[in-house]
């Protein structure tokens, strides 16, 4: 299209990278948490579940504020950045990944936990009587049975990271190619009255959101049919 700024697609690429990285990390980190939440008998496990779910309720500004301080030169993030000569994790892609992992965690952990919950004790007991080690039972019984949960978790985690705005605005610094993700780019275009560019990206986001929600609904339906 004529007259479009050449860098209009850069935020799209960056957003996809951020969401993919975040989803990958969340699947790795979130699965053991979800498993523990589903299987543990500890009385305080719902407390942990509540902490994981906090970002559902907290305004992004609360997370943005804490992250800005924690990632900064006086916080642990600054110390971490010092390992490779940086001063702060704010304004970096890594900082955004950390923020997104926290922010999107409930959207990945919850569906996986529900899927593990739904399996119940029985299949794992059967696996144990067939002499499967707990680890083997986990990989060959629990994970395949919980596959719909992993799928919804991955889709929701990815989509929710794409939709992230407040935190990135607060800790990102609007750096093209590093922290200027889609939602921030749209905000920027609107603030500077570049409505055509804003329109293109916003319409794309709306279409993307529609596809995600439709996919989720169809996934749910299929899962229900398998179970029913």
């Amino acid at each position: 299209m004529a007259g479009l700024p050449p860098d209009i697609w850069q935020p799209v690429r960056l957003t996809v990278e951020l969401a993919a990285m975040t989803t990958l990390i969340l699947l790795i980190v979130g699965t053991p948490i979800a498993w523990w939440l589903a299987r543990s008998k500890a009385w305080w496990k719902e407390g942990v579940a509540a902490v994981v779910a906090l970002p559902l309720v907290l305004p992004p500004t609360v997370l943005g504020f804490y992250l800005l301080v924690l990632l900064g030169p006086d916080g642990p993030g600054g110390a971490l950045a010092g390992l490779w000569g940086g001063r702060t994790l704010a304004f970096t892609f890594e900082g955004l990944v950390i923020g997104s992992v926290v922010y999107s965690m409930p959207f990945v952990v919850q569906p996986i936990r529900n899927a593990f919950d739904a399996i119940g004790d029985r299949p794992l007991e059967v696996a144990a009587t067939l002499r499967a080690s707990p680890l083997k039972a986990f990989w060959t019984v629990a994970v395949p049975l919980a596959r719909p949960g992993f799928l919804s978790g991955a889709v929701l985690g990815f989509a929710h990271t794409v939709g992230e705005f407040g935190i990135v605005l607060m800790i990102g610094g609007n750096i093209p190619g590093t922290t200027k993700v889609l939602s921030v780019a749209i905000y920027d275009y609107v603030e500077t009255s570049q409505w055509r560019e804003a329109n293109i990206l916003a319409a794309g986001m709306a279409a993307f959101a529609f596809v995600v929600i439709l996919t989720m609904m169809m996934l749910e339906k299929r899962t229900a049919r398998i179970k029913g």
Binding site: L68, L71, P73, T88, G173, I175
Partner: protein, 256 residues
């Protein structure tokens, strides 16, 4: 879906809040204030209330943000911009009262750091011994544009550009430096005028075009007592004293 129900409740709550708040607005004016003017605007609003009893409800943001919102019928009655172009455009577009535009302050750009001794002058920019330099969005905020212009005049813009971090408005640009996430940044003098600990360099006026900050009475305030009173109060001696206290220049009042 199960989140439909809370959504309905939220809408109902919002409707109730709107009804009750519009009653409370009877004696108040909504003022859109460019973020650099946050502190003086608060003092002026307090003095205004003490004198007239009217309430000035202040909103802070970048000039570009307010311009967009006002062109979309935002409920502001007075606009204190950080430039003169946007108020002028609003008058041309019929969104602000003709002939109401006047310059309430001329802003000063400062290079500032929280660390003592870090900012020594233009040499600090030329040496570039810092990781991050905070500015505000040069398209949406006049102070950002002034910062870019100053760096271009000093011929350090291209070298420093990779170190930029951008705040959505000057308050955020300031906050990035204040939290130490950026070592230095271009801010408004009014933001650091009471700061004794950090280091600063007053950017010489010959490096950037004057930041002429204009105010306009918006169409929505044309027939509003509180809005008109605030607009006049802004021109008065009490306001001038406050504005000058924060380091702005105030041009002599024009006979109109």
């Amino acid at each position: 879906m199960k989140f439909i129900m809370p959504l309905k409740l939220a809408l109902l709550g919002a409707a109730v809040a709107c009804i009750t708040s519009s009653q409370a607005l009877a004696d108040s004016a909504n003022i859109a204030v460019a973020a650099n003017f946050t502190e003086p605007a608060k003092e002026i609003a307090a003095a205004f209330k003490a004198k007239t009893g009217h309430e000035a409800v202040l909103s802070f943001g970048s000039s570009g943000q307010f311009f967009t919102q006002i062109s979309q019928d935002a409920p502001f009655q007075v606009f204190l911009s950080a430039d003169s172009a946007r108020p002028k455009k609003l008058v041309e577009d019929g969104l602000a009262v003709k002939d109401s535009r006047f310059t309430y302050a001329v802003g000063k750009l400062v290079l500032w750091s929280k660390e003592p001794g870090l900012v020594k002058g233009e040499q600090t920019l030329k040496d570039g011994k810092f990781a991050k330099l905070s500015i505000c969005n040069p398209v949406a905020a006049p102070y950002g544009a002034a910062a870019v212009e100053a760096m271009q005049t000093l011929r350090v813009y291209d070298e420093l550009k990779p170190k930029f971090v951008e705040g959505a408005n000057i308050s955020q640009a300031f906050q990035f430096v204040q939290t130490g996430n950026a070592e230095i940044g271009f801010v408004a003098l009014s933001q650091v005028i009471n700061d004794k600990d950090g280091s600063r360099w007053m950017v010489p006026q010959n490096l950037y075009s004057p930041i002429t900050q204009d105010a306009v009475l918006l169409k929505k305030g044309e027939n509003d007592e509180a809005a008109k009173a605030f607009f006049e109060f802004l021109k008065g001696p009490e306001s001038r004293a406050i504005i000058e206290k924060f380091g702005y220049e105030v041009p002599p009042a024009k006979a109109s």
